[in-house]
């Protein structure tokens, strides 16, 4: 399952990524940061359209594997309330060569931001809150 409500345990997530065919492992981890556009962020709440989000992540992985010669791609996105400093998303790509691993990893995280039905709500230190918006979504979907 590529979506979880549990904390992402990075050591476990990155275990067993290497095999004898792969000379490269590229990864991306998105953490909750403590600020956004001048405001102090306390925590983030992530919500998803679960069956479609799972399907879209699988589709992104399939498309990445079709485009680059990569051996394996793992994705884990957390939903629910996530505190500053915790991981919200983790991606790891293994391949024979680094260029394919970097490219596929970048493709997957950008795709998650634009195409996977997941939304974040920011909770600020002043007790206000706001749903986030990715302004790139429309141009990619349409």
């Amino acid at each position: 399952m590529s979506i979880t409500t549990d904390p992402i345990l990075l050591e476990k997530f990155f275990s067993n990524t290497a095999n004898s065919r792969c000379g490269a492992v590229a990864s991306f981890v998105g953490f909750v940061r403590n600020h956004d556009e001048g405001q102090e962020v306390r925590r983030l709440y992530y919500e998803c359209y679960l069956p479609m989000a799972v399907k879209m992540i699988a589709d992104l992985i399939h498309r990445a594997k079709s485009q680059w010669a990569v051996e394996d791609i793992r994705v884990l996105h957390r939903v629910g309330m996530i505190e500053v400093g915790e991981a919200a998303v983790a991606i790891v790509v293994s391949s024979a060569h680094r260029q394919e691993a970097f490219s596929a990893c970048r493709f997957v995280i950008e795709g998650i931001k634009r195409e996977v039905p997941i939304w974040k709500k920011q909770f600020f230190n002043d007790d206000s809150s706001e749903w986030g918006v990715c302004h790139h979504t429309q141009e990619v979907l349409l």
Partner: protein
């Protein structure tokens, strides 16, 4: 015909998570927002760049719905 409409995130907070609607045949995805024109939140809905999915697949606003379809009306994604 009957359809199901789903909202998530900010739209869920405003309109509720799930609605069963009876709508005219061949209604387009982008026309379903008219059924949520009961109060001042309509303006909010109208001004957004909404994204539509029918049965978990992205579709354009002018895509016609069929009996039993599940339409998700969504704000632009912000995951990652």
């Amino acid at each position: 015909m009957k359809i199901q409409v789903l909202f998530f995130a900010e739209l869920r907070e405003m309109f509720g998570a799930s609605h069963s609607l009876v709508v005219p045949d061949k209604i387009k995805a982008g026309e379903v927002t008219d059924y949520f024109s009961h109060d001042s939140k309509t303006y909010f809905l109208k001004k957004q760049s909404l994204v539509y999915a029918i049965n978990e697949t992205f579709e354009m606003p002018d895509t016609e719905l069929k009996e039993g379809d599940c339409l998700a009306i969504m704000m632009p994604m912000s995951g990652g």
